[in-house]
């Protein structure tokens, strides 16, 4: 009465044919999502850290004023020179070293200290959690740029102090993420099972919490790298951060902006480098995030 017709029951129909697409295509697409930003990043790192030793590239400082403000594509100075006669290509490459190192260091410190404290706060709960997180709340509540300027002024300029200043402000964000993820984990039955298995706390943090919280923190760090480079530029703009004549992408852009209409190449080249690097880091973070979360 209810079932009316029988179709395609005994012989396999077209629908049952094996999937036409090769099984590897999904994996390939996922790999590509990570491969291209990784390749771009590799290129940038190679150019900044290796190329200056291989190619005849002049020093980034101590140029002759006779060569000042050469346009791009001048002989011997493909990106041109700055008002002091320094080669811009060279300054972009050497500045990249500083910018990338500062960004990496800031995020590593934030990841280690913030991630560690956040995970411990989330795992402990109770008073320990409240104390740690309220401290970070206070840090977050203060207008960040104003405080960065204040801290930077009191520490003084220089690469190391720039790193410390910026790290100081990346810690609370890492801590918040690590704590939220740990709280989510704490409700998972496998954490109770670990307790019943007699697993000591340090092992729970290292083996249960860290591998599960790690991916989110790594992703956040990748996105944070770009942000740090831009903020370092802002600091340079205020005369803090990396001190001239040492180049960083941030201070090159900051200086170049003063004469943007006359000599745009001062801003153009470091901006392109910054842009490519930030895009590479962000896309790599995004690709890793989707890979790590997709498998769950």
């Amino acid at each position: 009465m209810a079932v009316t017709e029988v179709r395609g029951s005994s012989t396999p129909t077209v629908d049952d044919a094996p999937p036409p697409a090769p099984a590897g295509s999904a994996a390939w697409r996922r790999n590509f999502q990570i491969a291209w930003p990784a390749a771009l990043l590799g290129l940038v790192l190679f150019a900044c850290f290796v190329l200056p030793f291989l190619a005849p590239i002049p020093k980034p400082i101590g140029g002759s004023v006779l060569n000042s403000l050469l346009p791009s594509f001048s002989p011997g100075h493909p990106f041109g020179t700055d008002p002091n006669g320094n080669d811009i290509l060279s300054r972009v490459l050497y500045g990249g070293r500083t910018s990338i190192m500062v960004a990496l260091a800031v995020n590593l410190i934030g990841l280690a200290i913030g991630g560690g404290l956040g995970a411990i706060a989330g795992h402990l709960g109770g008073i320990g959690d409240s104390v740690i997180m309220r401290l970070f709340d206070v840090l977050i509540a203060i207008p960040s740029l104003a405080l960065i300027v204040a801290v930077s002024l009191s520490l003084g300029p220089g690469v190391r102090n720039t790193i410390l200043t910026l790290a100081f402000f990346s810690v609370p964000a890492f801590a918040r993420i690590a704590r939220a993820e740990t709280l989510r984990l704490r409700e998972q039955p496998f954490m109770v099972a670990a307790k019943l298995s007699g697993t000591p706390m340090w092992r729970v943090v290292l083996r249960h919490i860290a591998p599960n919280v790690g991916p989110s923190l790594m992703t956040f760090a990748m996105l944070g790298l770009g942000v740090v480079m831009v903020i370092e530029g802002a600091l340079s703009f205020l005369g803090l951060g990396i001190q001239r004549p040492s180049p960083s992408w941030g201070n090159m852009i900051a200086d170049g902006q003063l004469s943007l209409s006359g000599t745009p190449n001062l801003v153009l080249w470091p901006s392109i480098a910054l842009f490519l690097t930030v895009v590479a880091f962000n896309q790599l973070g995004e690709g890793l995030r989707s890979r790590w979360s997709g498998g769950r």
Partner: protein, 345 residues
């Protein structure tokens, strides 16, 4: 004779703050619950959502520690123990959880998961541990060569549950606390896992505290059954007696509400249909907590909390006006109200 596990007057409450503090209060999750489990015995605890049965299971394991009461396991009082002493005290007590995927750390491999308790309690050196893990996987029906190196997401729900069981029995525990261990599995897989638990019980002499909302399931695995309602036990008894002749009106309603597999049988759930919804554990009724849904309730039920008393051999009922006994010949007898009260006040 001492029992393997003796739980006395356990109370656990927690505070909730729901939706922006609109409705906060104290959830009376477990209110004065006492029971015991003997070696080799399975006690099934059955109850609805919010009856506090899962909280009770966690309290037995001291995760979290109950607010008050006593949990004696193998002669050791667990409430009040901390750190290593607590870990040693409950070493022979392990748990199997409802969520097969949440039970296993997604970043670990199967062999590492099963090995965890062996490492935690320093049970053997690396080689003997490795061998034991292989034996355990074999025992729960997973080929160690095929599954040993997989991660949880490469397993089905039933296979995950087998891994969780292997981890739970790694230390040769005396008691396994199972909180809805098969309710997220499909029927055919559920039968496989239930049979595995049954096989382990007879081979390893395990005791179970088996928590479930499913009365038929509890009947299948249990020697004795406890019925829980809003944080209190209302009936405890040998499985056969309790199912043949339920004495608490709540047990009667629960049994009548199970959809029958025989379509020719008329539905007998009229009383449960009219009984309405369970009251909130935030604000349980005075006296007997079932009285608002009970057709037999009288003034006494509101005034005085009925305590568990023995109405048959090992058959305890917390009711002022219990249901008559279902005799095989159909006649019903009402017990004398002078039966002495069993539970401590």
């Amino acid at each position: 004779m001492t029992h393997l596990l003796e739980v006395n007057n356990v109370v656990h409450e927690f505070h909730v703050q729901a939706a922006g503090g609109v409705r906060g209060g104290t959830v009376h999750a477990v209110s004065d619950v006492s029971f015991h489990i003997d070696a080799g015995e399975t006690l099934g605890v059955v109850g609805e959502t919010g009856s506090g049965k899962s909280t009770l299971a966690r309290c037995v394991l001291q995760a979290p520690r109950p607010k008050s009461g006593s949990v004696r396991f193998q002669g050791t009082e667990l409430v009040g123990l901390r750190g290593r002493a607590l870990q040693r005290g409950r070493r022979d007590m392990q748990m199997v959880f409802q969520d097969p995927f949440g039970s296993l750390n997604p970043t670990w491999r199967v062999t590492d998961i099963v090995e965890e308790p062996l490492i935690g309690f320093h049970d053997g050196d690396a080689t003997t541990r490795r061998r034991r893990v292989r034996d355990l996987l074999d025992l729960v029906g997973l080929n160690p060569d095929t599954y040993g190196n997989r991660r949880p997401r490469q397993l089905s729900g039933g296979q995950c549950q087998r891994v969780a069981i292997a981890r739970a029995i790694a230390l040769r525990p005396a008691l396994l606390v199972c909180d809805e261990p098969v309710s997220s599995l499909d029927v055919l897989i559920q039968a496989q896992v239930l049979n595995l638990l049954e096989q382990l019980r007879s081979e390893l002499g395990l005791s179970y505290l088996f928590i479930s909302h499913d009365l038929s399931l509890v009947k299948q695995v249990s020697d004795r059954v406890a019925v829980m309602h809003l944080g209190q036990l209302c009936e405890v008894g040998p499985a056969d007696a309790l199912y043949r002749s339920p004495r608490h009106p709540y047990t009667v309603d629960l049994l009548a509400s199970i959809p029958s597999l025989d379509p020719t049988k008329p539905r007998s759930n009229a009383r449960a249909i009219s009984a309405g919804e369970p009251p909130s554990p935030l604000n349980p009724p005075s006296g007997c907590r079932f009285r608002t849904r009970c057709p037999r309730a009288q003034q006494l039920c509101a005034d005085e909390r009925p305590l568990l008393r023995e109405l048959g051999p090992s058959h305890l009922v917390a009711c002022h006006f219990p249901e008559p006994v279902n005799e095989p010949n159909g006649s019903a007898t009402t017990p004398s109200s002078a039966t002495p009260q069993f539970a401590r006040p």
